[in-house]
Subunit: 189 residues, 2 copies
């Protein structure tokens, strides 16, 4: 239909990136686009942490994997359970070789934080795709619990991490995965 | 930058609609676009309920308002507390005069349901905007608890409502609300 129709059809979650860095000016443009998302009561409650330091990314990956393996919800979640092998592999970095990681955070006490920050993440990922950048929402990288580490990366006490999004210039773009037919349970009227 | 940049800048949450119906074929196209959203583990867990019957919308509005007023979380949430006047007003329909309401639902037991369905809602609302349609995510309309009513509208037992999105041709489009400067807590690297 138009460039949005194309971009949403063609955008893939990317996990394999070129070495080159994403310019900070571009990261900031994409964050500005993310802030155009709607939010409950127009509170725009999101905050951002930008990490382009690979050592820090590795530390965050290790922390998140450790916490996930301690977390009983992993046992209850079929999807997280599926990832247990990866979580136990010390070599595996959940952020892959991405040159950039952006954490989208929101207030712990807002009931709408998950929805608001997910909408912002969606705008972020589409904006990145339109700039030739690949992204992937890496849920496995969100389980940062160490207060010292959270402070070090600048997440305020009253915020929690909703969306860890890796970003970079794609080296490999996966094939379009199989799509289910839309499930419309009922049409009333 | 391009049509996405324009649409995300210009899209407003719309709560005042023309009388005319949205063709079902258009609703289905928008739902198909929503299903292009990424999801955790590519599970595409979303389902949709389309309601174009205004009596049913009124019943759903009444049920949601009643449940919200019973709900202790309303007391804890400053935003929901702000809406208590509206919730107590019997004449107020939380779906306004929208000719169409779409519930986006997801599995209760998936830890990613809120994020997945929010991403789908984002794609849904942008796709609608590109077709000249107004939308608004009406959180106040999501609190449907009556099992009989949930069954009547086709929400399966194992699903919960994440995003109630009203849609129609805009009669009035609000001014762009004030935007905060993006809050980048820290740049590391």
């Amino acid at each position: 239909m138009n460039i949005f129709g194309e971009i949403i059809h063609d955008r893939r979650s990317v996990r394999d990136f070129e070495e080159r860095a994403v310019p900070l000016s571009v990261i900031k443009e994409i964050i500005a686009d993310a802030c155009e998302a709607p939010s409950a009561g127009n509170r725009q409650p999101w905050g951002f942490v930008v990490i382009v330091d690979r050592d820090m990314m590795k530390r965050l990956s290790d922390e998140s994997k450790t916490r996930l393996l301690e977390d009983e919800s992993v046992i209850r979640s079929p999807l997280l359970r599926m990832y247990r092998g990866i979580l136990k592999d010390e070599q595996h970095n959940v952020f892959y070789n991405a040159p950039c990681l952006v954490y989208i955070t929101g207030p712990k006490r807002f009931h709408s934080t998950s929805a608001d920050c997910s909408l912002a993440a969606s705008y972020f990922m589409i904006s990145a795709a339109l700039r030739g950048l690949g992204t992937c929402w890496v849920d496995l990288g969100s389980y940062i619990r160490d207060p010292g580490l959270l402070e070090e990366i600048g997440v305020p006490d009253n915020h929690r991490i909703i969306a860890p999004v890796i970003m970079g210039y794609p080296k490999n773009i996966p094939e379009r995965p199989q799509r289910k037919e839309p499930r419309i349970f009922k049409i009333i009227g």
